[in-house]
């Protein structure tokens, strides 16, 4: 059922009725990895909940596997998902932006007008790009130097792909990588790999220049082994300590300028900018000074508003990574805790799971695994568990992990959207 704005307004009139029938209202804001997972899990596990999902986009384009589009191994249709399955499951879809939250009245105001009332709110709106935090990088600059770090309508990842296709052989593709924390710790390095895969095949005299604000990164040894094995000298990664941190970008001149003033002229530039929780979180006073939301590690309830559970990249889940798998998995814990509270029960125990696969080549996969539990002062990784793929020349391991990554993508998107 897709609700028009007017019909959505009608929901406001319904609470007394639905309460009388015993249907508690679970409102989910954001139909991405956390939100779609929460809505579908709630609908299929807790029949007593009336589930409404607010999401402005008609279709969801995943960030995961977007890098494979750059490599030429996927098309945009392969990473675009419809909300039809969620509607068919009995979730009310409101195609709009949440524009404000009144935590005391338990209502969410919609950009298109009107408001929705809730008993429990699950917020999973993802990230915002901090325009201007990297001097020279604003929304206009993103049309020259795409970020391709939010799925949106898919136009950013397609722009970056077109730029790669249009550049001359022998050019330099610059990638600016931010300091921690940011969405998907290994994502920039998978992107380096997939751009290199494209260049090796189509523009072999070109190279990737990765300029990093850090000195170390996720799965570093594995990535660097893979780059050497697959792409030879085509990838240059420059750590912060060797003047890798980009301090300013100049889209007019197509230049990345580093901290110590080195100016790199690029054929294509990809800027992964500094980030914070999405605007609805920061604007509603739900974020700490860090820009991320503090939550209870057992229930994901906001430290600022107990009926609002904040999941996905928007919260400070450290040491858990900001990943799709964490968003999917923790969204279910948040829903289970919200449902338990509505039933007057105590929250279930929490155990959170993550695996981030990365493609170094089309059939060359590596992974990092983490299992986490709530602790007295935040999230705690289970000792002696998880970790990264073994290093060494292990072609069968790499081939299998690439195939497992494909199984992950197929499984997680079915878990979110049904089908």
């Amino acid at each position: 059922m897709r609700l028009t704005r007017r019909a959505a307004l009608g929901l406001l009139a319904a609470p007394a009725l639905s309460r009388a029938q015993g249907a508690a209202r679970l409102l989910v804001v954001g139909g991405g990895f956390g939100g779609a997972s929460a809505a579908r899990f709630a609908r299929t596990s807790y029949p007593e909940l009336q589930v409404t999902l607010v999401e402005p986009q008609a279709r969801f384009v995943t960030c995961p596997y977007g890098n494979l589009l750059l490599g030429g191994f996927r098309q945009i249709g392969d990473i675009t998902h419809s909300y039809d399955g969620l509607q068919a499951a009995g979730i009310r879809l409101v195609q709009d932006w949440a524009a404000g939250i009144d935590a005391a009245a338990r209502t969410v105001r919609l950009r298109g007008g009107g408001a929705l009332a809730y008993d429990k709110l699950i917020l999973s709106p993802g990230i915002a790009l901090r325009w201007g935090a990297l001097p020279g990088y604003d929304e206009a600059a993103a049309e020259v130097f795409p970020h391709a770090w939010m799925g949106g309508d898919g136009s950013q990842i397609e722009l970056l792909r077109r730029q790669l296709e249009a550049m001359p052989d022998g050019g330099v593709v610059g990638i600016s990588i931010p300091a921690n924390p940011y969405r998907c710790p290994p994502g920039p390095y998978e992107r380096i790999s997939m751009v290199a895969a494209y260049l090796k095949r189509h523009k072999p005299k070109s190279k990737v220049l990765a300029l990093d604000a850090k000195d170390a990164f996720s799965k570093q040894g594995l990535f660097q082994d893979g780059w050497k094995a697959l792409y030879g000298g085509m990838v240059e990664w420059v750590p912060a300590s060797q003047d890798g941190a980009v301090a300013r970008v100049d889209p007019g001149e197509k230049v990345f300028e580093t901290e110590f003033g080195t100016r790199h002229t690029l054929a294509v530039g990809n800027v992964i900018p500094p980030q914070s929780a999405a605007r609805i979180v920061t604007a509603s006073g739900l974020a700490a000074k860090t820009g991320w939301a503090e939550v209870d590690p057992l229930t994901f309830a906001s430290r600022a508003a107990p009926d609002i559970h904040i999941v996905g990249d928007a919260n400070n889940g450290a040491p858990m990574p900001k990943s799709a798998f964490v968003a999917n998995n923790t969204a279910k814990q948040a829903v289970a805790c919200a449902a338990a509270a509505l039933r007057g029960q105590s929250p279930p125990e929490g155990v959170y799971f993550n695996t981030c696969y990365s493609h170094v080549g089309e059939a060359y996969g590596i992974s990092i695994v983490g299992i986490f539990r709530p602790g007295p002062a935040g999230f705690v990784e289970v000792p002696d568990s998880g970790g990264v793929s073994p290093r060494g020349v292990l072609p069968e391991q790499r081939r299998l992990e690439a195939a497992y990554a494909d199984a992950w993508y197929a499984s997680i998107t079915r878990d979110m959207f049904g089908g």
């Binding site: 596990s45 279910k332 799971f353 199984a407």
Partner: protein
């Protein structure tokens, strides 16, 4: 509903389900498995099917991953993060999926 032709009975009952297919959800600790092994552990591509396999066999495999008695590609790293009770509950759930 006695005497009613069954398609009509079905039509009458369906709306009561609210349009949702409410299946038994996996235990929370086993939800992570669904991220690679498909809906209800029915398998997808290289993500092996877990559904309908013998509970004792699944449990033994998971314990062997945990102690490295069995070598997997990533399962050893995963199994070590869970308690024996959680692994047994996951095995029991997948075994019961038909």
């Amino acid at each position: 509903m006695q005497g009613m032709p069954w398609p009509i009975a079905v039509l009458l009952v369906l709306p009561l389900l609210g349009g949702a297919a409410v299946a038994d959800p996996a235990p929370l600790a086993a939800q992570g498995c669904l991220g690679c092994h498909g809906p209800q552990g029915r398998g997808t591509g290289a993500g092996a099917r877990l559904a309908g396999r013998d509970a004792a066999e699944l449990d033994a495999i998971l314990r062997d991953y945990r102690t490295d008695a069995r070598q997997g590609t990533i399962m050893n790293r995963i199994a070590r993060g869970y308690t024996e009770a959680e692994l047994a509950a996951a095995a029991a759930y997948f075994a019961a999926v038909r």
